[in-house]
Symmetry: C2
Subunit: 440 residues, 2 copies
Amino acid sequence: MYEGVIIEKLFTKDLRFPTSLNSDGSDAMHTHPDYSCAYVILETNTGQKAHGMTFTLGRGTEVVICAIKALENLIIGQKVQDIYNNFGDFWRKLTSDNQLRWIGPEKGVMHLATAAIVNALWDLWARLEGKPVWKLLVDMSPEQLTSVIDFRYITDVITKDEAIKILKEKEDNKKAREFDLIKNGYPAYTTQVGWLGYSSEKVKSLCKKYLDQGFTAFKVKVGQNLDEDKKRCAMVRENIGSSNVLMVDANQVWCVDEAIDWMKSLAEYKPLWIEEPTSPDDILGHAKIAQALKQYGIGVATGEMCCNRVMFKQFLQAGALEFCQIDSARVGGINEILSIYLMAEKLKVKVCPHAGGVGLCEMVQHLQFWDYVSLSGTKEGKYIEYVDQQHEHFKTPVVIKSAAYMPPTDPGYSSEMFPSTMEKYEFPKGTYWQELANNK
Amino acid sequence: MYEGVIIEKLFTKDLRFPTSLNSDGSDAMHTHPDYSCAYVILETNTGQKAHGMTFTLGRGTEVVICAIKALENLIIGQKVQDIYNNFGDFWRKLTSDNQLRWIGPEKGVMHLATAAIVNALWDLWARLEGKPVWKLLVDMSPEQLTSVIDFRYITDVITKDEAIKILKEKEDNKKAREFDLIKNGYPAYTTQVGWLGYSSEKVKSLCKKYLDQGFTAFKVKVGQNLDEDKKRCAMVRENIGSSNVLMVDANQVWCVDEAIDWMKSLAEYKPLWIEEPTSPDDILGHAKIAQALKQYGIGVATGEMCCNRVMFKQFLQAGALEFCQIDSARVGGINEILSIYLMAEKLKVKVCPHAGGVGLCEMVQHLQFWDYVSLSGTKEGKYIEYVDQQHEHFKTPVVIKSAAYMPPTDPGYSSEMFPSTMEKYEFPKGTYWQELANNK
């Protein structure tokens, strides 16, 4: 299969969108983000192109680009057959270069760079197969699927054999679930109503807008000022009613005990979860918070900045999260994310992916669709985050109908952006940034 | 103090030494390292220069340099008075840029870059004060010392008030300990006898060499092949005798249960510790290993790749390490390292710093000296790692007498390299690398 196909070129783009001008995406920790991405285009000797990215917030995108270039020589000249036949082995090579791993390992800039490349590799594979990524995954046998995973460091929670067994147990009704998915899609929640920089009027009108669209779950940013948080939560709760779901998100601003106290004060608004209450590295801290908030019916959610499968493993082992928020571009791409889904399934934790940003909705939907059809077999109490930003730059943007993500049919990972977007927003030489520089 | 002194310039150097040619520094995970560093020179408007660095293994140093440049605008133009009067606040600014923190936070490339800059800031402070860093630290009041620390995310283990209290309790015999330190130095152990790529003959002759120099503690690399490990451990044990100390280091090659089994097989050689048995991110895994190996008298040591104070906090909380191996250039410089020492002291864990590499011995000795004089008050059962490599590039290299680190008296952090070294080893334009390129 794909005999003679070789990855010949790798191009990078530093793309930045000026979202800080409208406070879009603002939270307690990231007050002025310029939603951005480090974008990768692969090209084979047969002329096939593929696209991948990792999400960033503006400054620092150039550092991730530099890291992608440091990994480039591990990609260029590779036969795609060799990659996809032993994708787990290839993934380990990519993350274990014996000089580069010192500046990771498997975390931060290096792992974001790995994600961008690996996402492009999956886009390529799906295009070669003529399928969207979710369908490529769904059609894999348990043996094939687990062959893409590096189980090193997680065998104390799940081995390859166990993973195969779990996947086999779920094979019976896959067709029916695939049919249901195509017909009804997958539930989304919105984060659009409560960015921290938004005015009360804006929050109210957004609640109405998303209620009208059929949304039943709404997330609000908290953590800068308790009185303000109470007002915003009360207002959103009033607007969405008691039967709909409210989530709150602190974006890591608190210490452990502070998180517990603060959330007790917000308990009356009945949030389903508190997201990122403290440092994304604090497994034991999250476990303490989860334990303390259980009596208030508030779950702990985290994951968008959880740096790799070893950290997720421990969050799951320690009972430190009730909602596992995998991100499509923080850990090392689909290979590693699949291992996290498998551990979550084994340890009975719900996966509710992080999305928004640039391209995160487009990519992560594929993974949650696969989880529904092939692994967990249920959508119950689960949602994919949805933010209505930056979709216009994508050739095959997400499709939301009645507050549900509808599965795409185009081949690939939905990660391809328009050339016009790249010309305008490439930093600093794109036309948008050049104009801004000239007008200063 | 220092009124009108402003940091005006920041220069970076990508310095690489061709250590892979001799297998120096080789271990089970890093088979061909080229010991390197991302080097920072700060210059004030008064012409004062200061030097800092982070250690790297060759490829990827350019990524860390790129990250240092991304942080540059937070440094240039700063009044040194504003930095040192509120160093804890300044440190938080440096690590919390609201766009850059996304590609960390506080880990990997960004935190290595932070370390290089912060190390240079401490070199600058010590030079302005005319003292070596260890003495600058020793002379600070508990209030001053704790003012440099960002306690965010660690208050569940230690607060500023507790830290001050602990430091005050240790003030009584500081002068006597300082005198002892200057006279007798601080015990070192050697890693020189057992790099994985070394032959049996080389290991034997190195054992003799370091025994003759007075060393009593010897570390050996393990983890690639159990039979080979047994042979090497038996040989080193035979050469050093039963009363001296043997440590073994696996550099992260094992899964959790594999580590336990492998170490049971090496227990007969009576190692004091197993270093880095598994992923540096696996707190719960290390705790399980520590628990299982306790009955064999083997402690768990880790830290050289532990990415920040939040991770160290949990390793300490979970009983996941018996020997805490702080590194002078992995977490965000001295400010953060002090908080780790304070947590280790409170939770009664011995700190035995990681060193070797490029400049790590030179820098970390200062911190362990401070710990002895001002915090733990004891050297009992503790050592600083010592590797006899790359010291010749430093203006004030470490001084080892009778297997003890002797405290330096020159102002600064001992981190300044010779201009001739930079001219030769800067990558790729230094004379060494140019010659290598021309001879290919």
